[in-house]
Each structure stands twice: as C-alpha cells, then as structure tokens.
Amino acid sequence: MSKQEQHWEKSKGLLMMTLAIWFVFSIGIFLFGAEMNEVTGPFGYPLTYWFTCQGSLGIFVLLIFWFANRQEKIDEEFGFSERGDD
C-alpha cells in the first residue's frame, strides 16, 4: 500500500470513530430520552434535559478539537502536513 493509501485508511478510521461518538450523543442517547430523564445528571439537572442543554453540545465542542488534533498527528506521521503556518 502506498503512503497515501495508508494515510487515507487511517483518516477513515478516525472519521469512523468520530462519527460513532457523534452518533451516540446526537442520536443514540435520545432513543432512551424518557428513561434517562429519571436519572439525576450533572449539577442536579434531569439527565436527558442536561444533555440537551449542555452535555451533548459541550461534547461536540471537545470532539471536534480532539478530532482535529488526531488528524494533525496522522498527517504529520505520513509527512502530509502543511509547512509553517497555523
């Protein structure tokens, strides 16, 4: 496999992982919204309510930064990152 193909395989792996986490917190947990809301979540809010106000939203912010860092590492590993600037 060429360097470029390996790079793309790894990038696809990262994409799948990112989308899996995204799926859990944007869709998965809301399949059980009613049941989950019986549980007390962070700061004392009902759990599902907390996810819709803060939880999922905050997780998405962190997920994007995590993804960006991982992808940068992959690019560097194969020597495909850009020179210099940020």
Partner: protein, 604 residues
C-alpha cells in the same frame, strides 16, 4: 498605538473595541440615571453599533478577487470561529430560541442538539477538504470536482433556494428590531435594516463581512450573557446560572404538577391574539417521541453541513489545519449562547409563574396583572395577553399568553433590570440578524457572480468587472429579499428550518460523496442535486396542502426525505454511468491530503 500589520494586531484591535463597547454601555446607564428616555437609549444603541459596523465595512474595502471572495485566506482560527458564530447565530437564535424552549421544552431542544452536532459533520467530512480544494464558493467545488456547467449551475440553484429562504427571515428580523428600536413602521424599517446590512458587505465582500462579523459576535454575546447572569443573580437563583439552576428547574416541574396543563376550548383561544401561546408543555420532562426528536436533530445536522454561508467561512483560513481547528472554535463560541438559552427560558418561566416570587403573576387577580406597567407595555406590543376564561377573577396558567420573542425581549424588564439592558438586547438582536443576512446575501451573490457570470457566461472578464457584477448582485439580491420580507409571509423560525431542509436535500450528499467516494461522477451529482431538491420541495408542498406524510416526516424535516432520494439517485446514476476520468480521481486524492498546492489557484 497600532503598529504593523492589521492581522497581527487583531487581539489588540478587538480588545479596544470590546472595551469601548463596555464603556458605551456604562455611559448609557449613566445617561439613563440622568433621565434619558427609553426610546433615545434604544436609538443610541442601534445607531452606534450599526455605525461601527459600517466603518469596519468601509475600512475593509478591496479591489482584489481573493480578498473579496475569501478574505485573502488569512483569517486566524479563533477570529474565524467568532465570525462563523455570528454568521451562524441568526436573529432566530438570538430572539426566538429561548422562547421556543420556554414553550415547547424537550421537543424544541432537538434544534439545539442539531444546530451544534452538525459542526462535527462539518469538521470531519467537509471543511478541511473544501479548504484544500481552494474554491471561492460551494458551487465552485461541485463544478470543478464533477466537471461541467450543468453541475455547477444546479449547485447554484440549490444554494440560492436554501439561502434565499433563510435570508428573508433575517431581513425580516432586522426590520422588526429596527422598527421597535427606532420607532418607525415595519415596511420602512426593513429597508433601514437592509442598508445597514449592505454597508458591511458591499465594499469589502468577504473581507468586510469577516471583520464586521467578529465585531457583531462581541456585541451579541455580551448582549445575551449579561442579562442572563444579571437576572439569575437578581432572582437569587445562582451566581453562575448554567451550573446552579437545578432547583429552579425542579421547582417549575413542581408548579406544573400543581397547576396542571388545562386545555383551552377553541372558542376561548379565538380571543388570543395571533402568534401568542400559553404554556402547554412540560419544561424539563421528555415530551416528544424519540423519532420526533431524532429526526428533527438529524435534519438540522445534515442541513448545517450543507449550508453554503457556513461552509464558505472555512475557505478563509490560512491552512487546512486551521480550518479544522476553526470549526471547533466556531462551535465553542456558539455553545456560549446556546447553553445560555435554556437557562434564560428557565429564569423567565419561573419568574412569571412562581406565586412565591414578587414577579410571579399566576394566582394574582386579573385586574392586578392588568395594572402592572410591564404587562401593559408588552400587551400593547402584542406580545402578552391575559383573559379570565373560567371567570374566577384569578389568573391561571392556561389564561396567560405570550409571544416567543418576549422571553428574550421582556424578561429583563420583568426582572426589574434597567432599560439600558433592553437597549443592549436590541443591539444584540440586530447584530445577530445582520451578520447572518450578510453571510447569506454574500453567499448567493458570490455564487451567481463567480459561478454563473464568470465561470459560465464570461470567463474572460477582468477582476474589476467581476467585482462590479458581484456588488450589483449583492444589492439586487438584498432588495429582493427585503421586498419579500416586507410582505411578512412566514414566521422567522419556520423559514429558517426550511432553509436547512432545502440545503440538505440538494447538497449534502453531492458535497460529502465528492470527497469520500471517488466513483461519484457528474451524472450522479446532477441527478442527486436535482431529484433531491425537487422531491424535498414536493414533499413540503404535499404536507402543506393537507398531505398526511409518512414515516413521521413533517414539514420541518422534509429534508430527510429529500436527501434520501438524493443519495439513492446519486449512487444509482453514478454506477450506471462511466467512472470519473483519471484526472478527476487524482484530484480527489490530492484533496485528501493537507500538504501541497490547492486544486484551484490563488486567483481563479
């Protein structure tokens, strides 16, 4: 004071600007103490902020194509994040979101999840790759990746339908705010709003819009957060509302159980002015089926990744790496406002319905409520209404009605904050609506001027002529939007959601598969865009004209049907026709790695 290059001095420039704005708020509050009228304060806030944006717009004027279309591709990560957040958060987010949460609770909060979760798709599937491509507009990517004028033109059509639906709502919102703050009739206020919008974008294009959007973000976030924190502290609900309102949320649930949701008869509801609603849904309990919630969130997420005015903001970063990070910063800045909206809704609701609070009106006598100053003001503005349906002389929960906008606009006054806060909120709403309208009008005008005029009609046109065409289109599209907005056809929020559905119907899969599926070809993309948009629109018309719909897809989520058709059409047609040629395949390979030259040159 400022030396050297503008870009290097950004933190300093916007630091001074923020300090200046805070000083202005303090001056206004002193003026209020000295007896300045509420009306004058409102005019000062709106006029002062709009004047600043106009100055920034003038200073950013340019005659360069890459500065006009992509701000010279030198906008730093964090500032691009702020600009995107302002671009993104519309008048609807600012004025109507807290109201939606207040009235509809959980079912509505699917929008919060959708409008933030979509950025994960933007960051992982599209933005970095389109940045590497080096396009000026979204149709530029479609046209070059798939080849041919027809695919480019179809992309322009989808983009225009989606963005135009969206922009009329934004011009409508600027008009509403301008008409209240400046006290002029709505049909004129719409054009005042439009002229303010054009002042930001006409001379500098994307460069002007970028630097005004950063300034607008600063105004709108201060205008949103300051009242939320102030109200929370004043009510004794908590110093930091986001972490401390659990008691208030459970108190609302307790009161809901105590009052019950009494259903009003159709006859009684006829008395209620149009656009006002009562509290009929639980605040924090799950009140929607999983599919209703998930389908709405999913439609908004895919729509987010397809809307051109967001995507084109990531064309302005200096590198692919910066584009990825910038998506994270965008969402962080959006998160600051979105996570505050539910807190505002909670504070607003509790302060109105809790009889044990001095501001609570439920349980008071109707006559007493009708004599409250703020009730009279907002009743006159057609945003509040009470009526004694059961004739017992006391206000019940089901007898109190409010407009969605009132949650943001009236809560500061109800909580007893000084009027300067209401002026600030008006300036914030204006900033939110203007920044989104600017981004959208520019997206449409750029697509038509670059992709239709320059790429299809006259590829030999000189830069100066191209930019004249771009500016003329900007004005024409702005006026067309304002004219339609002046007719007041749909509500603000409804048309915003439709815009997402249109965008995802026609553009989501052609964009995503353009990067992630090498086999996708021109015929497939054209079929996907055309059939996606047409079937989505047909579904909307069908449901609007009394059709029953299927699979629980409503007029708010018709994009799910449109995009499914688009995906199937694109895959089937692509596989039935020839694979893209070697040059195109190589182009896709190039797009997938950050290093190396962009596909399209710096000037194209």
């Amino acid at each position: 004071m400022i030396k050297g290059n503008f870009i290097d001095n950004l933190p300093k420039v916007y630091g001074i600007y923020t300090g200046g704005f805070l000083a202005f708020i303090i001056i206004m509050s002193i003026a209020e103490q000295m007896g300045m009228t509420a009306k004058t304060i409102g005019i000062c806030f709106v006029a002062f902020t709009v004047a600043i944006y106009a100055i920034i717009g003038y200073l950013s004027r340019t005659a360069q194509a890459d500065a006009y279309y992509v701000a010279g591709r030198q906008v730093p990560t964090v500032f691009n994040g702020m600009a995107t957040a302002a671009d993104w958060m519309s008048g609807a987010s600012f004025v109507a979101m807290a109201g939606g949460i207040y009235f509809k609770g959980y079912g509505y909060m699917a929008l919060l999840v959708g409008w933030t979760g979509g950025y994960v798709l933007v960051a992982s599937l599209l933005a970095p790759y389109l940045r590497k491509f080096g396009c000026y507009t979204v149709p530029d990517f479609i046209g070059t990746r798939y080849g041919g004028n027809l695919s480019r033109f179809m992309a322009v059509v989808v983009l225009t339908v989606a963005s135009f639906t969206y922009v009329t709502a934004q011009i409508n919102a600027t008009g509403t705010i301008a008409s209240v703050a400046l006290d002029i009739p709505f049909q004129y206020a719409v054009y005042v709003g439009l002229i303010s919008i054009l002042l930001c974008s006409m001379l500098g294009g994307m460069r002007g819009v970028t630097w005004t959007q950063v300034a607008q973000y600063i105004v709108l976030i201060i205008a949103y957060l300051l009242p939320v924190f102030w109200i929370s502290n004043k009510m004794g609900a908590g110093f930091f509302p986001h972490f401390m309102l659990a008691d208030e949320v459970s108190r609302i649930a307790e009161l809901e159980a105590q009052f019950g949701f009494v259903k009003n008869s159709a006859e009684n509801l006829k008395e209620v002015p149009k656009g006002l609603a009562g509290i009929t849904k639980a605040h924090s309990a799950v009140n929607a089926t999983p599919w209703a919630f998930i389908s709405l969130a999913l439609a908004m997420m895919m729509g987010t990744a397809s809307l051109p005015h967001v995507m084109m903001r990531y064309f302005t970063t200096p590198s692919v790496k910066a584009a990825r990070k910038s998506v994270g910063w965008s969402l962080f800045f959006i998160f600051l406002l979105y996570s505050s909206a539910p807190m505002l809704a909670t504070l607003s609701k509790l302060s109105l319905i809790d009889p044990s609070l001095p501001t609570g009106i439920i349980g008071k006598s109707i006559a007493e409520v009708q004599s409250i100053d703020w009730y009279q003001n907002w009743n006159q503005a057609n945003l509040m209404f009470v009526s004694d349906f059961n004739g017992n002389g006391t206000l019940e929960l089901n007898e109190f009605f409010m407009g969605g906008k009132a949650v943001v606009l009236a809560t500061p006054e109800i909580a007893g904050l000084p009027y300067v806060i209401s002026g600030l909120v008006a300036a914030g709403g204006m900033a939110a609506a203007m920044s989104t309208a600017d981004g959208l009008i520019l997206a449409i005008a750029n697509a038509i001027s670059h992709d239709v005029y320059y790429k299809i009609i006259d590829p030999k046109a000189e830069t100066a002529k191209r930019l004249v065409v771009a500016r003329v289109l900007l004005v024409v599209i702005g006026f067309a939007g304002a004219t339609i907005a002046a007719l007041e056809i749909q509500g603000i929020l409804g048309s915003v959601i439709w815009a997402f559905d249109f965008a995802m119907s026609g553009l989501f899969f052609p964009l995503v598969l353009g990067v992630w599926w090498k086999r996708a070809n021109k015929e497939g993309a054209i079929a996907g865009m055309f059939l996606g948009l047409v079937s989505g629109a047909a579904y909307l018309v069908w449901v609007r004209t009394g059709g029953s719909g299927f699979l629980g897809i409503t007029q708010l989520t018709f994009g799910i049907f449109g995009s499914a058709v688009s995906l199937v059409a694109m895959v089937v047609v692509s596989l039935m026709t020839q694979a893209p040629n070697a040059a195109t395949q190589k182009m896709v390979d190039e797009v997938r790695i950050p290093a190396g030259k962009s596909i399209l040159g710096k000037q194209h």
